[in-house]
Symmetry: C2
Subunit: 82 residues, 2 copies
């Protein structure tokens, strides 16, 4: 089973990489970008039989390690086609 | 117009963050993860009128700054509901 996890900063939390990339794009002449945020996308291949089991592994991984509960939010999708 | 850009390592390129996170999850007792890759997800708000214009800005941004053409691949989706 495959899963994709998206981790982003919460609203109101400064995204330093986003600010830097935004300025850099502007400085090389690329216009038209109003807002930019940089997040993480984690792709997992899971060895489990049910969506519930996959969900459990993903939530445990995010809560215990991947996402900072103070500053970040995560969401995920489970793709069954392994 | 909103867009999401996903940047990942090419097949065969070592993903050091992925390897580290994988080991760390295993070491805190989370089992069942066979494979893990960490990529970037960039969300952009674009000030443009057509999908073609948005596409041009995204491809230029990726080719000139965001993605390393030697080691990374990118793909994107354009969401019209601003």
């Amino acid at each position: 089973m495959k899963a994709k996890i998206y981790i982003n900063y919460k609203d109101g939390i400064l995204d330093p990489e986003g600010v830097t990339v935004s300025k850099a794009l502007n400085s090389i002449g690329i216009k038209g970008i109003e807002n930019l945020a940089v997040g993480k996308c984690i792709e997992m291949e899971l060895d489990c039989n049910s969506t519930e089991e996959a969900k459990k592994i993903i939530i445990e991984s995010c809560d215990k390690l991947l996402a900072n509960p103070n500053t970040e939010i995560y969401n995920f999708e489970i793709l069954k086609d392994k």
